[in-house]
């Protein structure tokens, strides 16, 4: 662990010294876990993550560094952007998994597109439901959409749990399988997004 060049205190994060408040000049690309001072791993405690975000932002935010000149403000902008970026990566299960997969050298979504035939059939079925609802404009399809949403969310939770167990294990196993599991979640998310968009359109008082 490095120390603050200004006061010599040990640095919990490469961004800022929590002892004297001095912003640190970053070289290289620290991991989101390093940035937020958290232990690398799949399990992240949401409350701890939130506390870490606020504690660091209170130290790095450009609002508090503008009076020290342009240089300090720019550094504050950069370091706070790193805090925000790290937070959004770790706060989102999919982005967090993506980061961990990339870090262990697993294939990217573009490199591994294969999905089981059975799963793709399921995706087609979901899309059919959405198409039907879209076509039946003016009818109340909220319960149908809600039903599909509940299904998809349950599948998503199961899929993420399986992925999490593997990522937590001493041997996470075949990177290809990890990739497929994460791709499943991405497919589900895309459908859920479309579903939510459709539900918003349907509940808009304007189109009614």
């Amino acid at each position: 662990m490095s120390v603050c060049p200004d006061c010599g205190a040990a640095l919990q994060t490469p961004l800022v010294c929590e002892g004297c408040g001095a912003l640190q000049l970053i070289s290289g690309t620290p991991s989101p876990f390093e940035v937020l001072g958290l232990v690398r791993g799949w399990k992240v405690d949401a409350a701890e993550l939130g506390r870490s975000l606020l504690r660091l932002t209170r130290l790095t935010h450009p609002d508090f560094h503008g009076v020290h000149g342009d240089k300090a403000r720019e550094l504050a902008e950069r370091n706070t952007a790193l805090v925000n970026g790290a937070y959004s990566t770790l706060n989102d299960e999919v982005l967090r998994a993506e980061w961990l997969l990339a870090d262990m050298g697993a294939p990217s979504p573009d490199e591994e597109r294969q999905m089981p035939q059975q799963f793709l059939m399921e995706v087609l079925e979901w899309n059919e439901v959405l198409e039907e609802v879209r076509a039946e404009k003016g009818q109340d399809n909220h319960s149908r959409l809600d039903g599909l949403r509940t299904d998809l969310q349950a599948q998503r939770a199961t899929s993420l749990e399986r992925l999490g167990q593997r990522l937590e294990a001493v041997d996470p196993g075949d990177p290809q399988t990890l990739r497929q599991e994460l791709n499943t979640v991405r497919y589900l998310d895309r459908t859920l997004n479309e579903l939510d968009e459709l539900a918003l359109e349907q509940s808009s008082t304007r189109s009614a």
Partner: protein
Amino acid sequence: MGYIELNVLDSAPRRIVIGIDLGTTNSLAALWEDDRPVILRQEGTSGIIPSVINFPPEGPPLVGKQARAQAVVDPQHTLFSVKRLLGRGLADLKNDLRDLPYAITENENGVLEIEIRGRKYTPPELSALILRATCDQASAAFGNAEIASAVITVPAYFDDAQRQATRDAARLAGIEVLRIVNEPTAASLAYGLDQKGEGTVAIYDLGGGTFDVSILSIEEGVFRVLATNGDTQLGGDDFDREIVELIRENLAGEVSAEDLADPAFLQAARLAAEKCKIALSSDPRHEIHLSLPDIGLNWRHGITREEFEERISPLVDRTLDCCRRAMADSGVQLSELDEVVLVGGSTRIPLVRARTQEFFGRPPHTELNPDEVVALGAAAQAQVLMGGTRDILLMDVTPLSLGLETVGGAVSKLMERNSTVPCSVTEGFTTYVDGQSGIDFNIVQGEREMAADCRSLGRFKLTGLPPMPAGMARVAVCFHIDANGLLTVTAKEETSGIKAEIEVRPSHGLSEEDMESMLQAGFDNASNDFDRRQVADLKAEIGTMLLAVKKNQAAADEKLDPESLKDLTDAGARASKACDSDDLDEIRGARDEFEQASLPLAAVLMDHVVKGAIQGKSLDDV
């Protein structure tokens, strides 16, 4: 002598940092004083400056109440709602262009130009006039304090071009911008400070020209925006327009189409519509009275609140669609909201209150003055930025997703909407042709799939790449959205370490050259102003000298030689005459001559004073 020095210090103007709500309809300034923000207003006034500009045939433009008073008399030269033109192009305006009594065109940089009295003005120049007037009034309200810099608010849903245009306006007005803050966020700050409220809050901000909704969590002084949504072309102006339409429909049989399109008629109808809208917030019915002798019109017509509500209902629905999206993006359930705060003058409309109450399922908080709360919040943020307190922290978001146009015209997303700012993302680019020295890309803001449906922020051109085989160059381009919500782009070629130059050609923005020439024009005007002030000062000085000579006429007659006396009398007469003109050189010459001619008298008087002073005293005492 000590007390005199103190006096000098006291009369020196103070330097203050203010918060400015630059509104579509009204603008207002506030200052942090004694641990709370206060509106800067002169005694007996509201401090509110109508965001209206009038260009008289001669002299400087009028801003505020004076300008507003000219609306019906001089409609062609009176501008309303210029904020809605900031950072926009002709294609964006649609409804706003209808019925305008002046010509709007677009220049080669995609910047709008409004022609008034043979001169073209861009929206930032016009907004600069309003900002200047707001600052001047704020300064006057605070003992002519000097405005060192300002926090200026913008609608949360303003895109990059609209924010840049606001910053350009401030620069043209000679105001240093400490920060651009989102209006609903500023409002939440004022609410949080005033009510000591904590928890999850929805701010529904419906102003004169724009609508925003922000969902925030307020906890231990941290004001964190979870999601925001809005419409920068939706506000009270649109409600007025509905009434104007109603008036025109009713008059269609009586008045010719030509007269219905007449600027004087339109301006009168618009003012009558605004009055009607305000009246209908408290009365169930309002009688519109239009009297325009020029077209032989003296018309009275009653409008009921029901009629009005029916017309504006679709517009209110649009705001609720935005609320639905903001709630969905925030991940907060309606039942988890602790408070709904209404901001902006248009939230006084009963239908707006009823519909928001119905949507959010609770009575909204309406205790704060919806016209003042944004300016007050801006002043609080100014205090934070000046290092006054670390107890308050604003964490805001970027309202729109940021992306790049791909080869097929689709959008590849770089940043999601509602990302907390500042945020940055670095993207790798390479070359397709051997020796290619530059890369072009189109950067867009918006939620649509295709770049053509989003808002282009501009063509960015990377230049200065070292010659390399195709695909070898590794250009890292960093897109950074700062705490103002403004985008900056930097690039570096990584294999050679060469910092590639980026030329930014904004789709709708003033170029650096435009800014320079406008600033220069501003200085030219400023030097005119300076001349005028000098003339006034010299005249005052001559007046004082004439008075002094008159007071000592007896001494002059008695003690001066005839020649000096004649010189003095003649020079005084000439100086007095010179005051009838406004010619700086002539007045200054006359003043100098008068001063010269008064020297013998001054010597005589001094001699008299000194003699009197040392009479009866030894030299040691002097």
